[in-house]
Chain length 525, copies 2
């Protein structure tokens, strides 16, 4: 396959300007084939306007059509996976197994949302029937269900060119909700973005849906994202990336004449607490599992374990020694792109100034070395730099003076995507206050595992208090991600045949509904 | 009963400053008894800090305790209703029947949230059990439920001194969610606020909960609200009031180091569409029902019908004539306070400049006259002033050239709390595009009724796109209001006895849970 290079708008490649850029090979920094255009305000306006124009039609198609669309996108992606392996290998430096795994995750995610759409619980249908005899006033028939929010802008993320990019979780959940999507392709993988966008366009066409419900915008620079977030037709934004980038988009959205939500997942340091008995009994095994998680994907996951907290003692000494030994021999890794590598080196240097270097892996030009730093609880709690995320295979070991101080450490944490506890059997039961504190600080608490590997399922939360996420009561992974793009609408005293299908008396969608306070799947009236 | 006048913090009346103010009698503008203090930053910090300090304890009490607290608050309010009738009559100019009705609504709302808490669906419990044999990777046990967001600041609203104030829907839903509450009393009804706050404090004490979970802050001026919204311990805000006030709070919250959600319900003009056959067949009856809704509570409801849209014709002429005749004889009303009356007169004057006065009721000093203005669709669509809410008994009749133009009018609307359609049998079926457009524009669409009277039930939406509401996917009335103060948290691979009750294997709360994609109330494992 080769590249058109233009923006995909209304099912056609078009571009207002000839100005273009090329992608860069992550490993060699050589320029890759394909001339990709920079979007102008005209391109952006066209895509957003179309999203707005097609919203009424898309929001009212049958729920089943949305499910079929999601499944067809998955099918179309599977048909191009061999080409994606090559191009993502170049554009993001990811190995074949990772690309196949991430594509499977992406198609699985699309199919999960098809299941969610068919299950219908996302509609949250509720019916309070009329009470004409009620005193002092009668109650009218009132029914409520969720309705799509409107056109959504999705920012592709660099670290997951499939799962958090053009056809990733934000796009899947927005389309599942009935919202048209305009994707702003990440400039680090424009070729991958084009191919995935074409796959989506084929699926839209196959399902006979309006082409304008999906557009792809290419280009470099902050102005493109700014114009997309500020466009009046856009009603919500999905973003996965840095705190700086996410916050800038939030600020733009909040300053609009009509503020809109920006669901920004902005990373995390993902603290791992090693409880004393776990350390005593398996320090070496924990060390090995930890380094495996730290170095997975060259440390470029939002859930990378960037902070280890444990009480001083023999167990911790053994853990530290084993980690240091493994890291010393660790191979340096290719990062997603030169900008990411540069940022990693800068952030690592700040750690070098503020903390003690415990161990560093092998180094090479254009590669990221694995590093572990160490510091005391006293030093850490007062040092802002050591609370910042280092995006890459770097972690910080914070040593507390006692296991009681683990709670103090948890209290010092900012909002996090995850927190992990390593504990022996019946050990966790001695730390109820620590569990409770972490529950208030993070989106997901794990026991005896590592946070990398975010399962796409009904019960997943990938979010958390600021700065992990801009909107705390949301998740960007798992079926509840659809809620970000829905809003409740009530219908009072409506003729049955004018109601949305979800609320009609005979329950044509056969979904669970809350009828006069009771869950019920039966027809009413 | 008499007044202490200080702030209720930690179950005690205290104040950092002696600076005080008095409430004003709405009807006579005379000063009322009671010297109420202006909160200082010290008072505010104390209340917010306490809310933060008590959050861990309150968030982990049994769900049943929260239900009992809500019921006990209702009980305590019923015990003081006779005193409230007198004081609210003075502070807000509301007649006895209204105060008793609003108090019943408020206690009913508290009891509804007790029901919601016991029903447990607000927890949205989900369990995906481990799949150790899954290929290529096993799945760990992952469980998710909603958790309280953190301390909430509630702004009392002037127009509902009970139902949207100290013990109103925001407080009830925040406490139901497990969030401590700091109420900023509306300065127009400080006496009412103190008595209601004392009732809540008695209920908190009765339930042996920490006194710090509820505080009341008194005072005048914007600085108090600003300091509350900016306090680091506060995690969300509930507000009902003007667009200017709500937007200012949203902007403050968005500019915090850690932005927090402000759920601001900021009013609406609540368009009413009169379809041609309905007008032809019952113009006079519609006119009478409309004026009754317009003048209810001197027009001081968020859902007051401020806009009538209908096609020119004989039916509309009859409607206009009948409305004009009734309004001419309408008595002027006492407004909530002199500031509200002043704002009403100013906004009314803008309408006088931009539209034709169809009819005006009787006038009197310190009273609001009922007014109906008229204009053409062509004039209305270009005149921003005529899209602004006039808070009070004033409405605007917009005449379209045809019934087809009703859809164009709907397209011109900003976000609204409600839209209403008056239609004869089988008439609505001819307007699918109009229904669809209104569904995208508003929180609640009604047929053959008037929007005043917001039922407190499971299926109610009191919200809508900006500027009706600052956060479109929320409602401030009805049981889904609790969702504003919750966020999902996941627990991965947790020992059963360390999980929240909602997620434990034996389902001790006996709630519906989504287990491996199926709704189930049975124990698992």
């Amino acid at each position: 396959m080769n590249f058109n290079g233009k923006h995909l708008i209304n099912g056609e490649f078009q571009a207002d300007s000839d100005k273009s850029f090329q992608a860069v090979d992550a490993a060699s920094t050589a320029l890759l084939d394909g001339q990709f255009r920079h979007a102008t305000l005209t391109d952006i306006d066209r895509a957003c306007q179309l999203a707005g124009d097609t919203f009424p039609a898309f929001s009212s198609v049958a729920i089943e059509t949305r499910a079929l669309l999601l499944e067809r996108i998955a099918f179309e992606l599977e048909a191009i996976v061999d080409e994606l392996v090559v191009r993502i290998g170049q554009e993001a430096g990811l190995p074949e197994a990772r690309v196949r795994g991430e594509t499977a995750r992406t198609t699985g995610q699309l199919r999960l949302f098809a299941t969610v759409v068919r299950r219908g619980d996302f509609l949250q249908a509720r019916i309070d029937t009329a009470l004409p005899e009620r005193q002092p006033l009668p109650r009218e028939d009132i029914r409520q269900c969720n309705s799509p929010l409107g056109p959504v802008v999705v920012f592709g993320a660099s670290n997951f060119p499939m799962a958090f990019s053009v056809a990733g979780g934000d796009t899947a959940s927005a389309l599942a909700a009935g919202c048209p999507v305009v994707v702003r392709a990440h400039a680090a993988h424009p070729g991958t973005s084009e191919w995935v966008a074409k796959a989506i366009a084929r699926a839209v066409d196959y399902c006979k849906l309006p082409a304008g419900i999906f557009s792809l915008i290419q280009g470099k620079g902050h102005d493109i994202g700014k114009a997309l977030v500020q466009h009046p037709a856009i009603k919500a934004v999905g973003f996965t990336g840095s705190l700086g980038g996410g916050r800038a988009l939030c600020d733009l959205a909040a300053a609009r004449p009509d503020p809109i939500p920006v669901y920004a997942e902005m990373g995390s340091i993902n603290p791992v607490f090693l409880l004393p008995r776990a350390l005593d009994e398996r320090a070496e095994a924990l060390a090995e599992a930890f380094v495996a998680s730290l170095t997975l994907g060259t440390g470029q996951f939002c859930t990378n374990p960037g902070l280890i907290i444990a009480a001083a003692g023999d167990g911790l000494n053994r853990f530290r020694k084993r980690v240091a030994d493994i890291i010393t021999a660790a191979q340096p890794g290719v990062m997603l792109n030169p900008g990411i590598l540069n940022g990693y080196c800068q952030q690592q240097d700040k750690y070098r100034t503020e903390a003690e270097l415990i161990s560093e892996g092998e180094q090479a030009t254009n590669r990221a070395s694995v590093t572990l730093f160490g510091t005391s609880f006293a030093k850490w709690q007062d040092c802002a730099v050591l609370h910042e995320e280092v995006f890459g295979p770097c972690s910080l070991l914070v040593e507390t003076v006692s296991s009681e101080q683990l709670l103090n450490a948890a209290e010092q944490l900012e909002g996090q995507l995850t927190a992990t506890l390593w504990a022996q059997e019946n050990e966790l039961q001695d730390y109820p206050a620590l569990i409770s504190e972490l529950t208030r600080k993070v989106g997901r608490v794990l026991v005896n595992g590592f946070p990398t590997g975010v399962e796409v399922c009904d019960a997943m939360t990938h979010g958390g208090p600021y700065p992990a996420c801009s909107i705390t009561n949301s998740t960007s992974v798992g079926s509840r991600a659809i809620e970000r793009f829905l809003r409740p609408v009530s219908f009072q005293n409506f003729p049955n045949d004018c109601l949305p299908a979800a609320l009609q008396n005979n329950n044509p969608l056969r979904i669970n509904r809350l009828v006069n306070g009771q869950q019920d799947i039966e027809p009413i009236g």
